[in-house]
């Protein structure tokens, strides 16, 4: 399989008041074509920072990000769609206008974009909200609009930063189902940051554990469960096993101060 995305000895430090604080200095991982990987790690360890670097939001870093064999700093990146942790909805645009923002930027036909978005709204539980403004949405609704926006962009690599953290379990399950089916069909590759171990196991081909001190990717779990995956009495056991293993591993690598 092709390495669609490769991250090589990535390092990032922030300067504040002359003090240089290193977040991580040697992160390595890769993403194959049509693969879903999850990154799990303690809050504040640098997961969002990694996605920022891959997507180009953060441009000051050490190491290399290679997308389709090319160094991403060459700035011709139109491979990546990034759903950030903050929803970043534009307050003056309603749900529909917000969700097609990416398409608008890429100069797609506006009517077709709207149609596309409207078609997906029910799946996202946003039917009838298309004319609402962000400040009138609940937290979970905002998150879904933001998710919809990056889904609509239709790029081969998707970076998702805690896309379902504000959703209740039912809505979340629905999104899980929808996501796994849609990703299969559309042949997307995904880097998913999540705090929900079950979610990671359910959706990913591999789960990367981030942690330790200095922080790095300290463990990788390959999830060998047939797709489509559902938690059923049949695979209850294997699910639980993965969950427990990941949980234990995490516990090992949590730095003391967090």
């Amino acid at each position: 399989m092709d390495k669609l995305l490769e991250v090589k000895s990535l390092g990032k430090s922030f300067k504040s008041k002359n003090v240089e604080k290193t977040i991580f200095s040697n992160i390595n991982f890769h993403l194959f074509d049509q693969e879903i990987i999850s990154i799990i790690g303690p809050s504040g360890c640098g997961k969002s920072t990694i996605l920022n670097i891959i997507s180009g939001v953060e441009s000051d870093f050490q190491g290399e990000v290679i997308i389709k064999g090319q160094n991403s700093s060459l700035k011709n990146q139109s491979e990546v769609s990034y759903m950030q942790q903050k929803d970043l909805l534009l307050p003056w645009r309603n749900v529909l206008e917000n969700s097609i923002l990416g398409l608008e930027i890429n100069k797609l036909n506006k009517n077709k974009s709207r149609e596309n978005a409207l078609r997906l709204l029910p799946e996202f539980g946003l039917e009838g909200s298309e004319n609402m403004f962000p400040r009138h949405l609940s937290g979970g609704m905002r998150q879904r609009v933001s998710f919809l926006r990056s889904i609509l962009l239709e790029r081969p690599i998707m970076l998702l930063d805690e896309p379902f953290s504000a959703l209740d379990s039912i809505t979340r399950s629905k999104m899980h189902e929808w996501v796994s089916s849609i990703l299969m069909i559309n042949k997307k590759s995904v880097v998913l940051v999540t705090h929900d171990i079950y979610e990671a196991v359910l959706l990913s081909d591999r789960v990367l554990i981030m942690g330790g001190s200095p922080i790095n990717i300290c463990m990788e779990f390959e999830i060998n469960i047939n797709r489509p995956r559902f938690k059923s009495p049949n695979n209850q056991k294997i699910f639980s096993k993965y969950e427990k293993d990941i949980s234990d591993e995490l516990l090992k690598h949590v730095p003391n101060n967090i």
């Binding site: 997507s55 180009g56 939001v57 990146q77 139109s78 990546v80 769609s81 990034y82 950030q84 903050k86 970043l88 534009l90 307050p91 003056w92 645009r93 309603n94 923002l101 990416g102 608008e104 930027i105 890429n106 403004f133 962009l153």
Partner: protein, 261 residues
């Protein structure tokens, strides 16, 4: 769109706001009464400070003259203001987009604000002649500075996170400007426009000071050496109303453009 404007206006007036509208009128009325009484008590002569009644009388007596000259001044203010906004936005975008422009054009714009127009009025007259153009130039010169400064500060105030997000969408600089910087700067721009709308009036007056034969500025100017103080004040009252009207229009524009903010 007109419907929305209409609704904004309507909304503003309903909600039993009648009282809160007349209470300030009462206050202003009280001030006028105090002024009138003060003049009666101290027996202030008209040429020193005319009484509100005298000014009001003058407005009625000379309504034709005043109306004619008001239209001239309003016309100059309006076009000057429009041009000031357009130029302000253009310069704001240029200065914000190019570091070199910020360091070269911006100081020149600041410098332009210190030109005492009355002093260079004769030169202006020689350069562009006595037509409406010279007045519009003065209005623009006076009004566009607040637009530029506010717009640039508004641009700078835009949330970096949104800008970066648009970059991940492969947005061009112009797209980022239009979809992020401009909407973020809009409230600032509108404050600038409100300031400009008021200064456009005084700009027209100053423009009329030299090389003109009409407009309220000219009327004030010729009334002054004739000691027609009531007429001077009547003109100022009308100028004030014009400024309040232009300000209110800018305010309605603001309400309309920021309705989803």
């Amino acid at each position: 769109m007109f419907q929305i404007i209409f609704k904004t206006v309507k909304k503003y007036f309903e909600y039993g706001k009648f009282l809160s509208i007349i209470s300030p009128l009462i206050l202003i009325f009280l001030l006028l009464i105090i002024w009138q009484i003060g003049i009666l008590i101290f027996d202030t002569p008209n040429w020193m400070l005319p009484s509100p009644v005298a000014i009001f009388q003058e407005i009625i007596d000379s309504k034709n003259i005043l109306f004619k000259h008001s239209l001239v001044t309003l016309n100059e203010s309006f076009w000057g203001l429009l041009l000031a906004i357009i130029l302000g936005v253009i310069f704001g975008i240029i200065i914000f987009s190019f570091k070199t422009a910020e360091r070269s054009v911006y100081p020149l714009i600041i410098a332009s604000q210190t030109i005492p127009i009355i002093a260079i009025a004769p030169l202006l007259l020689i350069w562009v002649g006595p037509g409406i153009l010279s007045k519009i130039i003065v209005v623009v010169l006076i009004s566009f500075f607040p637009v530029v400064v506010n717009l640039i500060d508004g641009f700078k105030n835009a949330d970096k996170d949104y800008e970066k997000m648009l970059k991940t969408f492969n947005a061009s600089k112009i797209q980022i400007l239009l979809k992020i910087h401009f909407p973020f700067a809009l409230p600032y721009l509108l404050s600038g426009i409100k300031i400009a709308s008021v200064s456009s009036i005084i700009g027209a007056v100053i423009g009329e000071w030299v090389g003109s034969t009409e407009g309220l500025g000219w009327l004030i100017k010729v009334s002054s050496p004739q000691f027609l103080t009531e007429r001077m004040f009547a003109s100022i009252v009308i100028l004030s109303f014009m400024a309040i009207i232009l300000f209110s229009l800018s305010w309605l524009l603001e309400k309309f453009l920021l309705r989803n903010y």
